[in-house]
């Protein structure tokens, strides 16, 4: 849930999604859901020579499970807020487990 919220705050930001098949897609993050499925607009593939079949694609939906990394714009992330939220969520999770 925590990471889901992080991605929600990053909508309309430019991100780079690296997939497990080594395809990297740059695009504007339009929406995200609880599985961290991602919708990207205005996409561009890094290394287009290697993936010519992707040139025509303008926007896409990415299944969350095939994502390896998402490179985020540093300025859009409040690290202090993230750490506090993480501490809160992890202690809640621990309480629930007991």
């Amino acid at each position: 849930m925590l990471i889901f919220s992080v991605f929600k705050t990053l909508t309309d930001q430019e991100v780079t999604v690296e997939l497990k098949n080594d395809l990297s897609i740059v695009g504007t993050l339009k929406s995200v859901d609880q599985f961290l499925n991602i919708k990207l607009d205005n996409i561009r593939v890094l290394d287009e020579d290697k993936h010519p079949h992707m040139i025509a694609v303008r926007n896409c939906f990415i299944r969350g499970s095939v994502v390896r990394y998402v490179q985020l714009p540093k300025a859009a992330v409040d690290t202090q807020l993230l750490e506090d939220a993480t501490r809160r969520e992890s202690s809640n999770a621990q309480k629930a487990a007991r």
Binding site: F7, V77, E83, R87, S90
Partner: protein, 129 residues
């Protein structure tokens, strides 16, 4: 006698560290850095070890011969993580066509802010000091 002294020492360490551990359990920011190092050694639940590594530089080993070093800012129960100032190391095995020998080549990349999906994570460790 020696053993007794050692136990005394341990008890003293515990007394000193107990408030710190309690604080991290309650979700408060961990106290002074000096006592954090020893917290690694006595984190009780597995996730406690990651929790005390928040805002510290960590080492993350991933599937596919990849390693990350970066500052940990967030994680969840799936081990999804957000790291900053990340250096990624990829180990690529090249096979020499003439000799048939395999040579390991490392590729390094840097990234300011990175989300890592938890299903690729093999281990998380505070880096060696």
């Amino acid at each position: 006698m020696k053993l007794y002294r050692r136990n005394e020492q341990r008890r003293a360490n515990w007394q000193e560290l107990k408030p710190a551990l309690e604080a991290t359990r309650r979700g408060l920011p961990p106290p002074a850095r000096s006592s954090r190092l020893s917290l690694f050694a006595m984190a009780v639940e597995p996730f406690d070890l990651i929790k005390v590594s928040l805002s510290e530089r960590v080492f993350v080993k991933l599937r596919g011969d990849r390693e990350l070093r970066g500052i940990l800012h967030a994680y969840d129960g799936h081990m999804n993580m957000v790291l900053s100032e990340v250096e990624e190391t990829i180990y690529v095995v090249d096979v020499d066509e003439q000799t048939g020998e395999s040579v390991v080549r490392t590729v390094k990349r840097n990234c300011d802010m990175l989300f890592v999906r938890g299903d690729g994570v093999v281990l998380v460790a505070p880096p060696a000091r």
